[in-house]
């Protein structure tokens, strides 16, 4: 595994540097290495970062007359913000009101044209848009998902009157109910088009010049990959392009090392902790992905893998408030100034400083010995900001910081498990990220998990996921019906349309793939409910009443799984129909990592470390690469590798499997 730093001013350089690092280590030319590659799978946070830093295109928004403020009003609410804190400013809309234009038209919820499209008024708005030097146009009209005639016509008018200006139509980009979410997806998508096309073009050129002749694929928020040119056309797919892959990898390693069908995948980085769930081998999806803080950032409204991020990681700052209560985060020291132990001017204690204080991290071998750590700095920060105010000793203070971090992480995991009717005691916990091993055993113990897997690729879990992902796409159509008055003909027509679109994908980007599959599912709810759940269809057609009964039965079962109860007497409303197509790009799954040649001249040793509830203990220090397959080590111990450190609490047992991964019984 090879890593290089991000280069925000020119991200292509960072990609190149990582490839160069690999070729240098393998002692071959970059050109030779790239020349041998068939596929290059790329994940990028460029879209997410552009939104967070407002570096997207100057975008205009066209919507139904009377509803100019869809992006301003959003869905109301300020849940999760401090209840009485009105010093928090109300968030700005994704597209300014000044660039929002109302279109005289209206479609009803049944698709009838209530008011015809006033084309002259549209053209007038387009001229106005031109005067504002707009670079992209998003169009979202009410009920375009039922009847897109007006949106389509506006698309034609855009082609004629603003040729060359990219636009997105809501019924194409995200055909789902709820106007704010659909408008948000549409405007986010189009605002990224200029940037993403430029970036992906640059990347392709750079790779081509360096000898790459294969296929460039980009990771999508839906845990699949798409050709770079397709992502440039619909860049909303690339949001959360990185984190979306951790569950794919987690699912793979859970299935290799554990019998459990349920896995919790926790990716612990420096500033964020991303958690996701694998339920019966499936990765759940959400339509409520926020960029930035919930209710302050923007909801993408776009279906994506459900990855919950909380601000907790090695860089999280520990502090004590005026009432004497300890907090860890949400502020992070980041990489600059970084934890106090980095000696780069950071004076506030972080989680990493707590780990250094307790002896978990060897200052001489941190990041393979590439960085000296200031142990005294870590200890003094911990004493001044935590130990002192709480009137407890240094080690106790550091243990407290780790304990509270664990609690924050447990809360995040409970949100995605217990809240969805999943009992974490029957799940395997898969850890990834550089900070995975610090408290994963404590986290598992709190949750009652009986098994932990830390893959050999843990430090690059998302990248590993990219290597085993498939080419995927998803199509959706809206059709209201109920299980009691089921409209079989229209449902079959809808499913037929979806299947045709999937087949086009198989024949297009999916040509020459090894295996193809199409899954159908429907979003439904009990009568009077409004939050739909996804229910897989057993097949892409309803041939008889029996098939409808099967769907009814499946709905009750899925509802029971998620909410712990079902209501068999209630009618079920079916809203939105989906087909997901998957084309397998490789014949076999990923192999295991090559053993690294760096061991810093170290195999085994002991050190004094502090464990909460035990105090100072003589602790075995084990070098990951030196562990023999199936050799068990019992805590207290520390397993070190160039990328991460695993703290093995007293009583826990850790072993390296034949596949090279770590399995822990907490």
């Amino acid at each position: 595994m090879y890593k290089a730093s991000t280069t925000p001013e020119n991200p292509v350089r960072g990609v190149r540097a990582a490839i160069d690092a690999a070729s240098a280590d393998l002692e071959i030319e970059t050109r030779t290495l790239l020349g041998r590659a068939d596929l290059l799978v790329h994940g990028t946070t460029i879209a997410t970062n552009a939104i967070l830093t407002r570096n997207t295109a100057r975008t205009a928004f066209l919507t139904t007359r009377g509803h100019r403020d869809i992006l301003v009003i959003r869905e109301g609410g300020r849940i999760g913000l401090s209840t009485f804190d009105y010093a928090i400013p109300y968030p700005e809309p994704y597209v300014p009101r000044a660039l929002t234009f109302e279109v005289p038209e209206r479609i009803g919820m049944d698709g009838t044209v209530v008011a015809p499209l006033d084309e002259d008024a549209v053209i007038e708005s387009l001229l106005e848009i031109e005067r504002h030097s707009v670079e992209a146009v998003g169009v979202c009209l009410l009920w375009s998902i039922v009847n897109p005639v007006h949106e389509k016509r506006i698309g034609e008018l855009l082609e004629t009157h603003l040729p060359g200006v990219p636009y997105s139509l809501s019924h194409e980009i995200n055909p789902s109910l709820r106007e704010y979410r659909r408008a948000s997806s549409t405007c986010i998508d189009v605002s990224l088009k200029p940037l993403l096309s430029r970036y992906l073009n640059d990347l392709r050129d750079e790779l081509r010049e360096s000898g790459f002749r294969g296929r460039l694929l980009v990771i999508t928020s839906q845990s699949g990959v798409l050709d770079a040119s397709d992502v440039a056309q619909a860049p909303i797919h690339s949001i959360k392009s990185g984190p979306a892959m951790a569950p794919v990898a987690g699912r793979h390693y859970a299935s290799v090392e554990s019998r459990s069908q349920t896995a919790i995948v926790a990716d612990a980085g420096g500033t964020t902790y991303d958690v996701s769930l694998i339920r019966k081998g499936q990765i759940p999806w959400t339509r409520e992905t926020w960029i930035g803080r919930p209710y302050l950032g923007h909801m993408t409204g776009f279906p994506s893998v459900d990855v919950t991020s909380v601000g907790a990681g090695g860089g999280s700052i520990a502090w004590v408030d005026t009432g004497g209560l300890l907090h860890v985060g949400p502020d992070s020291a980041g990489s600059v100034p970084g934890p106090a132990c980095y000696g780069r001017g950071g004076t506030r204690p972080t989680v990493t400083d707590a780990a250094v204080t307790l002896g978990y991290i060897d200052p001489a071998r941190f990041l393979n010995g590439t960085m000296d750590l200031d142990v005294a700095g870590a200890r003094s920060a911990m004493g001044e900001h935590v130990g002192g105010p709480l009137a407890i000793g240094l080690d106790q203070a550091a243990v407290a910081v780790i304990d509270l971090l664990t609690e924050n992480m447990v809360t995040a995991i409970e949100e995605i498990t217990i809240h969805q009717g999943i009992d974490p005691r029957y799940a395997v916990l898969v850890g990834g990220g550089g900070a995975a091993g610090l408290n994963i055993i404590a986290t598992a113990r709190r949750l009652g998990c009986k098994e932990i897997v830390i893959p050999d690729v843990a430090a690059g879990l998302s990248a590993a996921g990219a290597l085993i992902s498939d080419l995927t796409s998803e199509y959706a159509e809206l059709l209201f019906t109920t299980t009691t008055g089921f409209d079989r003909d229209r449902a079959n027509r809808t499913l037929g349309n979806l299947e045709r679109r999937c087949q086009c994908f198989i024949d297009g980007p999916g040509a020459r793939s090894f295996d193809q599959s199409i899954e159908f599912f429907v979003e439904g709810r009990y009568l009077h409910q409004i939050w739909e759940i996804d229910v897989p269809l057993r097949q892409g057609r309803f041939d008889s009443q029996q098939d409808v009964d099967a769907l009814t039965e499946d709905f009750h079962r899925v509802h029971e799984q998620i909410f712990a109860f079902s209501d068999p007497d209630s009618e079920i409303e079916l809203v939105s129909w989906h087909a997901r197509v998957r084309c397998q790009l490789r014949e076999s799954a990923v192999g295991s990592m090559e053993r690294t040649r760096h061991n810093a001249g170290f195999d085994h040793g002991t050190r004094e470390c502090h464990f909460g509830g035990f105090g100072m203990l003589e602790t075995d220090i084990v070098w990951f690469e030196a562990m023999q397959p199936d050799e068990a080590v019992t805590g207290p111990a520390i397993v070190e590798s160039p990328f991460t450190t695993v703290v093995v609490d007293p009583g826990a047992e850790i072993r390296r499997t034949l596949q090279g991964n770590l399995v822990i019984i907490p």
Binding site: G66, G76, G77, Y86, P96, R97, V114, G323, L326, Q529
Partner: protein, 600 residues
């Protein structure tokens, strides 16, 4: 059997700042689980779309411990009183019991807020906590299809089934008598039953989690935690109050006249007395009129809570709202007072919104008057027809009956000392925690069309920091008639600004005929719209904080660019001059501002 809850001094577990933090997070986590269950499984739009519900955990001694992300007006005060009434009325509590509670004479906010109380009983039979899930119902069997009975002279005319902590489950089984009564009395009973199951599920989840927590840590530890958490919260409140100057002010905020009120409405007059040194604050609400023959009377829970929300809005954020921090607040009430302790059979049908927000507003404005940099201006008055209860028969579904409260939203946010008002606040008591309905979802659920929902230009309460501009919402029935019942305050008495901040615009209610003609209609009403008619609700704007001539001109420039404020108003009200490109002309602005100082 009740064991002594106070162990010997030597056995008192030590709760340090670490355990305090960890346990607080775990209890908050339990309340979040309750919320999630209710939102996702409830059947009525007011709960699952509008999020008009709350959950909390109360101690065995009936003190509020953890409120979570609830609507403050629902449970800040009242959760304790409800739990206490459950204990008083049912001295023998057993595991498996559950109680239904909506009596405003026993601690509930108003009859529409049906609550489920589950006593958490440990293995020794000791009552350790009470879990409460409260949800605003789509219907509660009132005389009219609305949960806001503005015209009721008393609880009999109001008509709701009142449950003063009535046992609804024993040994985890429904007492079917109660369920049958509700199913016969409450409109669209299946919807009610679905909501009942959702609330019960939420309270039972908390019970399960709390029992597990007690087993894991020991009940003595949890008991010691409560004490320390209350002490910690009290100290946070003392610290927050000490930052304010001492002072005493009176303030008045007047609710518009409604049926059953005097012709000038209900002036809510109160005194706030702040003792910074002692770290305590008092609000006196006794000098107000007696209970009225109207649904507008406050319940005791709402009277106390509304005053407290005004205080919490006025101090530094982050003080946990619980029985500990409440020790530093004293709210004086008297019996048989419109903003006090109602005497049965006075109706409290509308207790959570209209007059309650007037209490909150008077408190936060009073504090702003004597403490610069604290307090707030007045929040816009609730609630326009965008929050009406609608009912009828849906022609799309075999004329199936429907009834529900819309939450299309009113803006209303008041300006504070450091920021503009929150745009989607939707009432002081809800603190912005409610969600706004999606237009497409509402058009799916009910046979209506929302023709317009937008923000109104030049409607904000101007100030150094501005109140939220008002919202305009218009809707009409589709191919049927529609009964609409609504209760709008703020048409006559607009929200008042503070420290030189200006009033927000007042509310307006209109009916639009097929001819396109708009007719003003009364601010409260029970109408049946035909398919050719629509109703329009224009909410209040929130009021401003500080002199608008001291507003950062760059903020004004942005307000004009975004169409919230016209260039004329920028010049006249804010004394900000913009050039042809819409950019601030700082020199001319300075001159204009210098000329007008002292003239207002």
């Amino acid at each position: 059997m009740v064991s002594t809850l106070e162990p010997d001094a030597a056995d008192v577990p030590v709760i340090d700042g670490v355990l305090l933090a960890v346990l607080s997070k775990r209890l908050e986590g339990i309340v979040r689980k309750m919320h999630n269950t209710l939102l996702r499984t409830a059947r009525s739009g007011v709960i699952n779309n509008g999020r008009d519900f709350s959950c909390c955990i109360v101690t065995g001694d009936a003190e509020l411990l953890t409120l979570g992300e609830s609507l403050p007006i629902h449970l800040m005060v009242g959760s304790d009183m409800m739990a206490q009434s459950m204990k008083d009325l049912h001295p023998q509590l057993r595991r498996g019991d559950a109680f239904i509670h909506n009596s405003p004479y026993h601690g509930c906010s108003h009859a529409a807020d049906q609550s489920i109380l589950v006593p958490v009983i440990d293995d020794q039979g000791v009552h350790r906590f009470t879990a409460i899930a409260k949800a605003h119902q789509a219907d509660i069997g009132n005389a009219m299809p609305t949960t806001y009975m503005f015209s009721a002279k008393d609880v009999y005319e109001e008509g709701a089934l009142i449950f003063p902590s009535v046992k609804v489950q024993e040994d985890y089984q429904d007492i079917e008598d109660i369920i049958r009564m509700c199913m016969l009395r409450i409109r669209v009973p299946d919807q009610w039953r679905g909501d009942y199951l959702a609330a019960l599920g939420a309270a039972r989840i908390a019970e399960r989690e709390l029992l597990a927590l007690g087993d894991e840590l020991g009940w003595e530890v949890l008991h010691a935690y409560q004490r320390e958490w209350f002490n910690y919260s009290e100290q946070r409140m003392v610290g927050a109050l000490r930052k304010l100057p001492s002072g005493r002010t009176r303030a008045c905020s007047t609710h518009d006249p409604f049926p059953g009120t005097p012709p000038d409405g209900i002036p809510v007059t109160l005194a706030v007395e702040m003792d910074a040194e002692a770290g305590s604050i008092e609000v006196d609400l006794r000098d107000n009129m007696d209970c009225l023959p109207s649904g507008l009377n406050l319940s005791e829970a709402c009277a106390r809570t509304a005053a407290m929300i005004g205080i919490f809005n006025s101090i530094e954020p982050g003080v946990p709202p619980n029985a500990g921090s409440f020790r530093r607040i004293c709210v004086h009430l008297r019996e048989n007072c419109v903003v006090g302790i109602p005497r049965h059979p006075a109706s409290c049908s509308i207790a959570t919104t209209n007059v309650a927000d007037r209490v909150t507003n008077a408190v936060q404005r009073a504090i702003a008057e004597f403490a610069e940099g604290y307090g707030m201006a007045e929040t816009g008055a609730v609630q326009s027809p965008a929050g009406a209860v609608i009912s009828g028969f849906d022609p799309r579904n075999d004329n199936r009956a429907f009834v529900n409260q819309l939450q299309l939203g009113d803006t209303l946010g008041a300006a504070g000392p450091s920021e503009d008002g929150w745009l989607t606040l939707f009432g002081a008591g809800s603190a912005g925690q409610c969600l706004w309905d999606s237009v497409e979802v509402d058009e799916t659920l009910y046979p209506i069309r929302v023709t317009e929902r937008r923000i109104v230009t030049d409607s904000e309460g101007a100030g150094k920091y501005c109140g939220a501009p008002s919202s305009f919402v218009e809707f009409s029935p589709v191919a049927c008639s529609l009964r609409v019942i609504y209760v709008t305050d703020g048409t006559i008495n607009a929200p008042l600004g503070t420290r030189g901040g200006l009033t927000g615009t007042s509310a307006r209610t209109l009916m639009r005929k097929a001819s396109g003609k708009d007719t003003p209609i009364p601010p409260y009403g029970d109408l049946t719209l035909t398919a050719e008619e629509s109703i329009i609700g224009i909410s209040c704007g929130g009021a401003g904080y500080g002199d608008p001539r001291t507003r950062d001109p760059v903020r004004v420039q942005r307000d004009v660019a975004e169409g919230y404020v016209t260039a004329e108003r920028a010049r006249e009200t804010y004394c900000v001059v913009l050039d042809k490109t819409g950019t601030v002309d700082h020199k001319k602005t300075q001159q204009l501002r210098a000329q007008t100082v002292g003239r207002r």
